[in-house]
Amino acid sequence: MTGHPTTGPATGGTKPGIRQRLSRAMSPGTAFSARHQSLTTVVTFAAIGILLPVIVLLPPFSGFGTQNDWVGGFADAGIFVLLAIGLNVVVGWAGLLDLGYAAFFAIGSYTYAYGASPFTGLHIPFWFMLPIGAFVAASFGIMLGAPTLRLRGDYLAIVTLGFGEIVPAVFLNASTLTNGTNGIVGLDQPSFGRLFGVGDFGFTNPWPYFVTILGIIAVAFMLLSRLENSRLGRAWVAIREDELAAASMGINTVTTKLLAFAIGASTAGLAGVYSASKLSIVSPDQFNFTVSFTVLAMVVLGGMGNIWGVAAGAFLIFELQSQGLKQLNTFIGGLGLPAFNLGPITVDLATINFLNYQYLLYGLALVLMMLLRPEGLFPSRRRRRELHELPDEAERGNVELSEADEVEL
C-alpha cells in the first residue's frame, strides 16, 4: 500500500572507480584517520612547544628579550589562539556572526574567580575549574542562543554585540557580587605538584603556564578537528549555505546552531579560566569590545574555517602586536630621523608609539586583506572555493567551468 521505493538490484553493475569514490566520500572520518589526526596534532604541538623557546634564543629574537620574556609572551598568545579557534567554530564553521564573544571569556574568568579565590573562600583546583568554566560559559551560550538563534545573521550580530557589552557592564555594576571596577584579586595559581620538572607556577616562572596552555590548545584542537569532519560539522556547513534546504535534509537547524554557540562559548570559558589564573586578577575592563574585535580579526585574517590557519593567525597577530610594534618603536627611534612637517602637523616618527595605533593597524590590515585576499592568510579549501571559484551568477546555474577549474574542486 505504501509507495516505498523499490531499489532493485542496482549495485551489480557498479564501476569500481565510483564505488571507491563513494565509500571514501561516505565515511570521511574513519577511526583510523581520526586517531591519525589526533596523533598529528599531539606531535605538532610537542614540536611547537620545543621549537618556539629555542628559536627565541637566536638573533634577532634573542635581542628583543630574554627567553623567559618570550615564553611568558607565548603563554599569553595561547589565550588568543584558544579564543580564536573557539570563535572559528561559531563564525567560520556555523557561519554565525558573533560580535560579543569576549562575554564568554569574561564568564570563564569570573567563574575561576568565584571558584578559586579569597573572595568566596573557595579554592577549587585549577584543573577542576577548567571543565567547570567551560561548562558555565557553554550554559550562558545556550541561554543567549536559545532565544536569538532564530534571528537572521545581521540581527544576531547586533544581539551578540549587545551581550558583549552587557556582561562586563554587569560585572562592573553588580559590585557587591563582583567588587566592581577593582575586580576580584588574589586568585589561586595552578599547581602541577612539580610534575614535568618545570617548577611551579608563579609570576617569575612562565614555563608551567606555557606548557599548560599548549596542552589545553592541543586537546581543544583534537576535539574540534574531529567535530569539523563529523555529522555535526557537515550540518554546520549546510546551514551556512542554506538554512531552509538544511532543514529539508532533516537537520534541526536550531539545535545545530545552538551547539556551535555552546562549543564556541565553552572554548572561551577555558581561555577565561586559564587567563584569570595567570593574571591572578579579574576585572571588567579586561573584556571590552576590543577583545571581541581582536579575536574576530584574528579569525578573519588567519583564514575563517581553517582551524590551523586561525590558530597561526592569532599567534602571529598577537606577537606582531606585543613584540613587533614595540620593536618598531625602538627601531624607528634608533634611526634618528628628523621631525618633518606635514602641512600644519609636525611628525616626529622617533617619538610615535606604534602601540597606540594597533587598532588603526588592524583596521588597515583587515581592509587590505578583504581587498587582496578575502579568504585570509591560511584559508580552508572550502572557503577558497566560496570566494574565488564561484562567481555570483553561478549560484543560479548556467555557468560551466573549464576542465582545468574542475580539477581544483
Partner: protein
Amino acid sequence: MTTENAPVRHAPPADGQPMLRLTDIHSYYGNIHALQGISLDVFPGEIVTLLGANGAGKTTTLRTIHGLLRPKRGAIEFEGKDITGMPAHEHVGVGIGQSPEGRRIFGRMTVMENLQMGAYSRKDKEHLSEDYERVFEFFPRLRERTNQAGGTLSGGEQQMLAIGRALMTRPKLLLLDEPSMGLAPILVEEIFSIMTDINKQGTTILLVEQNALMALGVAQRGYVLQTGRIVQSGPAQDLLNDPEVKRAYLGG
C-alpha cells in the same frame, strides 16, 4: 533498472486511504491570506499535479505541507497521522522529501556532498550505496560530476541534483516545486521522463508546475489553484480537455 515489474498507471483511486490529505488549510504571510481553504488528497503511487498562475499559492501549499509555514486553520495528515505544524526537519523521518522552488542546492558543496546531505538523517546506512547508485542511474550526468561544486552546475543539472538529493532521503512522497523552471525544453522533457521513472519505482509525487501541459501529461490527477483556492480538480485527462483550463493555462 527494474522497470519491468513496476506498477504501470494508476487509475484515479476511488477509495482507499490517501497518503497525504489536506483539509481546509488556511495559511498567512502576516496579513496576506495566501491559502484560503485548500483541501486535497494524494494517494499512494500517484503523480498529482498542482497547477496555477504565478502567485496562486502553489509554493505556499508545499511550504505548509513541509512544515516551513504553520497553517492558521486546517489539518494535514500523512499516512493517517496528523502532521500539522510538524517542523520541517522531522519530515524526512516520516518519509516526505522535497525539491524546493529555486532548487536550493548547496552551491559550495560538491555534487557528492550534496547527495550525502540528502542522506544526513538516514538510519538505514546499509542501503546507502544502493541509493547513491539509484540516483546516478536516474541522472548519469551527476555521476560524471561527483567532485564538481554544485553551484557550478548548469540549471538542468542543479535541478537533477535537487531531485537526487531529495531521493537520498528515501521519501515515500516527493514534493517537487516547478522542476521545469528556467530550463530548455529538451531538459524539461528529460526531467519529466525521469520523474515518471521515479514514480514507477514506487515514489508518490506531488508536482507543482506552471507548465500545465507537461504536468498533466505525466500526472494522473490535478488540482488548479487560483488566488489561494482550488477552483478545479479531476483526472489529468479531463483537465486537459476542460475549456476553462485550456483557456487559462494551456494557451488555447
